[in-house]
Symmetry: D3
Subunit: 71 residues, 6 copies
């Protein structure tokens, strides 16, 4: 079942640069034009998605999860 | 009280491009060198931070909030 | 750009039953075979996704967002 | 102190099917009428709630955490 | 159905001090012995929970949602 | 780059009381006037922020992440 589009307004396209695998969750570092975007997902998902260094992915963030800091 | 650093690994620096103000929450669109990052925060925070079009900000996202999709 | 698969382990397929539109965010109630799943997304996303009553959608939740209560 | 009700609109009742325990966080798979709902919570909470395979639980999700994808 | 206990490690007990109602989401300010805790939930939940100024509540936060900043 | 202020309405100032380090994420328990506030962040962030028992920190929570339960 392929997804046509998703509501996440913040989509960062890139390639997996590094995977740090833990017993329950893993860190996925994605190399994007915005810089490195880091994600923590379940290790089961890493396996189901067959993620590896170099895999093309989209890092997605809901707008309600984004904080704003003033410089 | 100024903050030295924060754990959010994903930090996107930019300028506020647009604010859509609602009665409870507002949408803040941040123009970064690589695209727009959208945030929804409380309208009270918008006022307390004195955000306006052009304000320099940092959009921050916790790694646990980032999803990964395979293309 | 179509997405092949996503890490969100919790995926609930259904049809949009109701949309409550606000100026910034909207509530989307999705009718699934096992009950209603409710989502709040930006009103801009509702428009970009062209959501309407009856649209077939997938409601997605990251495992790190799910709390557990004991009965 | 028992809780009468909670704001999470999305409540999935079921039984714990599997626990994958890690040093900091654990994965809890809950068998519900909606299918398996997966949660990641702290391992301390797993112990404090005395969760085990078969425990009756409620998996709870805030509406603001639910994303919508179009098929 | 009453809940015995929940995994959210961060629980702040207090009384509702103010409700700012919007068409989709509302802001709930909870007066706790140590300061105000602010929550945004759906306006439907506010009504279902029959929240009003003075209602005794528990504000709950999952540990994965808490960020850490260094001063 | 120091941050002047941030939108997170819920800020709990305190000292790190305990760190449980995992391979990917770590639990940080912060002793605040509100009681212990628990956070789960990436182990990389723990190292980058040089967190240790006794470090003065701010635990931050977005209002959209706070749930409300009725007692």
């Amino acid at each position: 079942m392929s997804i046509q589009s998703i509501n996440a307004r913040n989509q960062f396209r890139g390639k997996v640069k590094e995977i740090i695998e833990g017993p329950v969750v893993s860190e996925i570092d994605v190399d994007t034009p915005f810089g490195i975007v880091t994600s923590v997902i379940t290790t089961r998902s890493v396996k189901e998605l067959k993620l590896a260094v170099g895999t093309e992915v989209l890092a997605l963030v809901k707008a309600t999860e984004v904080s704003i800091a003033k410089l």
